[in-house]
Every structure is written in structure tokens, then in C-alpha cells.
């Protein structure tokens, strides 16, 4: 059994998005219920979350953006940058705490006290750009974590695997010129789904060309197509790149019962994906893997999806 950490804090529930919004606190409640009912909580090492230090947030986001976000929040604005990004007065503090929780998990893993970790955080992060909030995301938790691991621990090859059903435009753009961070994403085809990027011909830019890979899946596809794409694209890419640490943008919205997408993965399909990712971690990163919650909106499926995900981390 692996030493698996869990980042969770009740303050993550304080970010409220109002009615008609799918990114609700109940998502986390559902995730935690799954872990509790699966008997996993006592097997996990709790990792306390502290607000992220601004120096790490600003390794990704401009100081101007951070100030603008904080000011919008303090003024009591109800949305930030787009009507998608509903917010309340606590949103800034919660976003900082979510990023900080992920950094704490990275520290525990990189300093060897844990093998891997799951961060049950919100708001999610992978759509957040350096200067723009997008798609329910304010601070790019995974991107901030990758910069932290790079600079604080001198890690030279970080692999990011993003299986949220939407392309992680923010993460891709932040690292598109960086050959030390390989960004891989599998998602619903951008001609049909938000955010309209993550096309097959996007490979990165400049010195980072060849260190971005996207596998778009057409609407209606499910387990078989994901298996085909991951075997064709992810596995060989990571065999070659040999990441020293793996970060996962874990989105559970590709499930067939999740109405945010037209991808129809089964719960077993998600299990298979996680097996492949853990095999990569075992082969290349000495099991070091930090998984961070992104999307996933089906409150009745989230408990089992989160439980299986964390069970897989414990099994290593």
C-alpha cells in the first residue's frame, strides 16, 4: 500500500457560485462522501491546506491579474472576467487556499513523506490563463504546482496528464514554450466542446515544441476510443519523456452520466485510465504523483469515481 495524502478543507465549500451553476460545493461533499463510505479516509494521510504564498501564484499569474481578482472579490462582484466565473466574497481566499493545498501535497511528496496525493480542492484551475479567469477557474492549481516543483525542487521533467473532458487551455498555454513540462490532455473535441482549443495540431511552441500533446475525442465516444487514444498518444510520449513527477488534472466530467459533455466513459473506463497513469508513475517517477480535482459535475457519480481514483492511488 502506498502512502497517499489527501488535501481537503471545509473552507473549499465557501466558494459559492449561485443558482444555475454546476461548479457547486456539493461536488466536494460528494467526493468526500465517496471516500468516507469506501472506508478510505482512515487510510489516507491528511495534508493541511495553507493559503499559497503569492510568490508561487505569481510564478504563473501576473501580479496585475492577482490584484484584479482580489479587488473584484473584495468589491463583491458576482462574476469575474466572464459570466461563467461566478464568485462570492470568499472566492479569492478559497482559490488561494486551494492552490496552497496542492503545493502542500507536492511538498510532502517531493520531500518523500508521501508517495502520492489526491487534492479534493475547488475552485478548479486548468482553464485559468496567466491573465484571465476562464471556465470556472481562477488560479491554475496544477500550473502553480508545476512551477513550484520546478523551482523549489529543481525537477527537470514534469509530466502533466489532464483527463478532464475539457481541454486545459490555461495549463497548455502556460507551459507551451517549456520543454521541461510535458502537457498531455485527452478531451472532447474542441469543435464541439469548451474551450475550443486542444486541437490535434497543437504541439507547443518555440523550445517547447513537441512537449504538448492533445488527443481530442469526438462526441459520443467512450472507453474504447479513450483506450485507443491513450495507447497511441500518452503512453509512448511519456515513455520517451520519462517524467520525474506526474501531476494529474483529474476531471470526472467525461463520465457518461455527466451532462457537461457528450463523452461517455464508464466508471470502469476511468479505472483503466488511472491504471495506465499509475503504471507510468511506477515506471518513471518513483510513484510520485499528485492528482488535483478539476471538473466532474454529476453528483451521483462523483462518490464512486473519487473513491476508485483514490483507491487506485493507495494501491499504487
Amino acid at each position: 500500500m502506498k502512502r497517499t495524502g489527501l488535501v481537503y478543507d471545509e473552507r473549499f465549500l465557501l466558494h459559492r457560485t449561485g443558482p444555475y451553476h454546476p461548479e457547486v460545493p456539493e461536488r466536494l461533499t460528494a467526493v468526500m462522501r465517496g471516500l468516507r463510505e469506501g472506508g478510505l479516509l482512515e487510510r489516507l494521510v491528511p495534508v493541511p491546506a495553507e493559503p499559497a504564498e503569492l510568490v508561487w501564484v505569481q510564478a504563473v499569474h501576473s501580479a496585475e491579474y492577482v490584484r484584479r481578482f482580489e479587488a473584484a472579490c473584495r468589491k463583491g462582484e458576482s462574476v469575474f472576467d466572464s459570466p461563467d466565473n461566478a464568485m462570492c466574497r470568499e472566492t479569492y481566499a478559497v482559490a488561494l487556499l486551494a492552490a496552497g493545498g496542492v503545493l502542500a501535497a507536492c511538498r510532502e511528496v517531493l520531500e518523500g513523506r508521501l508517495d502520492n496525493a489526491f487534492c479534493a480542492v475547488r475552485p478548479p484551475g486548468h482553464h485559468a490563463e496567466a491573465n484571465r479567469a476562464m471556465g470556472f477557474c481562477y488560479f491554475n492549481n496544477v500550473a502553480i504546482a508545476a512551477r513550484y516543483i520546478q523551482r523549489r525542487f529543481g525537477i527537470e521533467r514534469i509530466g502533466i496528464i489532464d483527463f478532464d473532458v475539457h481541454h486545459g487551455n490555461g495549463t497548455q498555454h502556460i507551459f507551451e514554450e517549456d520543454p521541461q513540462v510535458y502537457y498531455y490532455s485527452i478531451h472532447q473535441h474542441p469543435s464541439f466542446a469548451y474551450p475550443g482549443t486542444g486541437r490535434e495540431f497543437e504541439y507547443g511552441r518555440g523550445g517547447g515544441y513537441g512537449f504538448t500533446k492533445n488527443s481530442p475525442a469526438l462526441p459520443g465516444q467512450g472507453d474504447d476510443e479513450y483506450r485507443r487514444l491513450l495507447e497511441r498518444d500518452l503512453l509512448p510520449a511519456f515513455e520517451q519523456f520519462r517524467p520525474e513527477v506526474i501531476l494529474v488534472s483529474a476531471g470526472f466530467d467525461a463520465h457518461r452520466d455527466d451532462d457537461m459533455s457528450d463523452i461517455a466513459l464508464s466508471t470502469e473506463g476511468y479505472d483503466w485510465i488511472m491504471e495506465q497513469i499509475l503504471a507510468l508513475a511506477a515506471a518513471h517517477s518513483r510513484h510520485r504523483l499528485i492528482s488535483v480535482l478539476e471538473g466532474g459535475y454529476c453528483l451521483t457519480r462523483l462518490p464512486e469515481l473519487a473513491r476508485n481514483h483514490v483507491q487506485a492511488l493507495l494501491n499504487g
Binding site: Y20, H21, P22, S82, P83, D84, H127, M134, G135, F136, H166, N169, S191, F192, A193, Y194, P195, G196, T197, E200, F201, Y203, Y209, G210, L218, P219, G220, D259, M260, D262, Y297
Partner: protein, 234 residues
């Protein structure tokens, strides 16, 4: 949707006396394929495309270059000798649709944009049109594509647009396909939001059928085209 908004300004031009080799260098330096030829008053008298240049030079030139002596033979070729004239031009007040239809019918790669006196103001190339249509489709902005099946009767689109607008969601574009089934249309709104679950729910409650956009496509493309081969790996 006017040409003046989408055309390229600051056009690289030449005169009828410009040599073929100078034209070629201009094209390479600015990575362009069309050079309007203007007179002293900037009136357009012709246009030279990269194809006109290629046709004027022997194939060997491109393969292995020419000796000084051979090069001399082509030294005297001027723009006036190879340019297309008269030129098909458009005015800044043309719509993008006009330009699209014209460029298609005339089988040219670019249209000089001129005022009433024929003076050059800009150029609209196929590349500019592509950019304009990316804007029109709204696909440069993050969003989600829906496909709604509606009955062919007046006022359907208004209801859909009103319902979505009431939710505070902006449209990137709306495309309508008129041939779905008998008396049915497929409406494709591109919505600038990630939050589509609520839209789908509302439209369903209003009695519309939402179909997977893919289903619509699949009915129309032959089997062998359904999966495009991946581009070459870097």
C-alpha cells in the same frame, strides 16, 4: 461584416517598371503572394501573383538557380510584362460575403481594395477571409457547440435565442442547416460558455430536441472520412 474591417492595410506595392527579380524578393521578404501594381497616383493598374513569377521563369531557376548569364536574360522582365490587367477589385464597402463569392467565382487569391477613383486602400486575400470567418464563427473565443432540432416554422430561432440570452450567455455564432429531415432544421449555436448543462436542460424543457452535433455530421460524411489521419509528429 465589411471588407474595410478585414482587409490588410499598408499594402506592399510595385510599379509597372519593377523588375521580376525585385518582385520576387518583395514577396519573399514580406511572405506575401500578391503585389498590386500601381501608377504614380496609386491607382491600381495590375496585379502580380507568385504564380505569374513562377510561370515567367524556367523550372531550373527554382531547382538549382541560374548562372549570371542566364539570369541576365530575365533581367529585363518588368511587372508590366507579367501582371494581370485589368484587375478585379472591390471597394471597402463590399461585405465579406460579396468578397467570398467573388473570390470563389473569379478564382483569384486576392482582391485589391480601391476607392471610387481606383486608388489602392488595402488588399483582401484568402488568408484575410479565413481570419474574418474564424471571427464570424466565434471559434477564436472559448465556447461550446450545441445542435438543436427545430421544426421549420417562423419564430423558432427567436425563441431559442431569447431563452439563451435570458440566461446571460453570449453567442459566438449561430449556424442553421436547412436539410435535416422533412420540415426540420438543425440549429447550431456556438455559445461562449462552459456552462451548457443548464442551457440543454432549459431547451429540453421548452420541447426542443437536442442532438449530438456529431450525429448530424456522421449522417453526412462517408465512412472512410470519419477518422482523419493524425498530422505528422514533430
Amino acid at each position: 461584416m465589411f471588407v474595410s474591417r478585414s482587409m490588410t492595410r499598408g499594402v506592399i506595392t510595385a510599379t509597372p517598371e519593377t523588375s521580376l527579380f525585385d518582385l520576387q524578393e518583395l514577396m519573399n521578404a514580406h511572405r506575401i503572394r500578391h503585389i498590386p501594381i500601381v501608377d504614380a497616383e496609386r491607382k491600381v493598374v495590375g496585379i502580380v501573383s507568385d504564380r505569374d513569377i513562377r510561370s515567367a521563369l524556367p523550372f531550373r531557376f527554382f531547382k538549382e538557380g541560374l548562372s549570371e548569364e542566364e539570369r541576365g536574360k530575365f533581367q529585363d522582365i518588368r511587372a508590366r510584362d507579367i501582371m494581370t490587367s485589368p484587375v478585379i477589385t472591390i471597394s471597402p464597402g463590399y461585405t465579406i460575403q460579396d468578397a467570398l463569392l467573388l473570390i470563389q467565382n473569379a478564382k483569384v487569391g486576392a482582391l485589391p481594395v480601391v476607392d471610387e477613383e481606383g486608388r489602392l486602400h488595402g488588399i483582401l486575400s484568402v488568408r484575410d477571409l479565413l481570419r474574418a470567418f474564424i471571427n464570424v464563427l466565434g471559434i477564436g473565443e472559448p465556447g461550446t457547440l450545441l445542435c438543436i432540432l427545430v421544426e421549420e416554422k417562423v419564430g423558432q430561432l427567436k425563441k431559442i435565442v431569447d431563452a439563451i440570452t435570458a440566461m446571460g450567455i453570449s453567442f459566438g455564432s449561430v449556424l442553421v442547416a436547412r436539410y435535416w429531415e422533412e420540415d426540420k432544421r438543425a440549429v447550431f449555436p456556438y455559445l461562449l460558455t462552459q456552462n451548457v448543462a443548464q442551457v440543454k436542460k432549459k431547451l429540453t424543457e421548452m420541447g426542443y430536441t437536442l442532438i449530438d452535433p456529431m450525429q448530424w455530421y456522421l449522417d453526412r460524411i462517408p465512412d472512410e472520412e470519419r477518422r482523419t489521419p493524425p498530422p505528422p509528429r514533430p
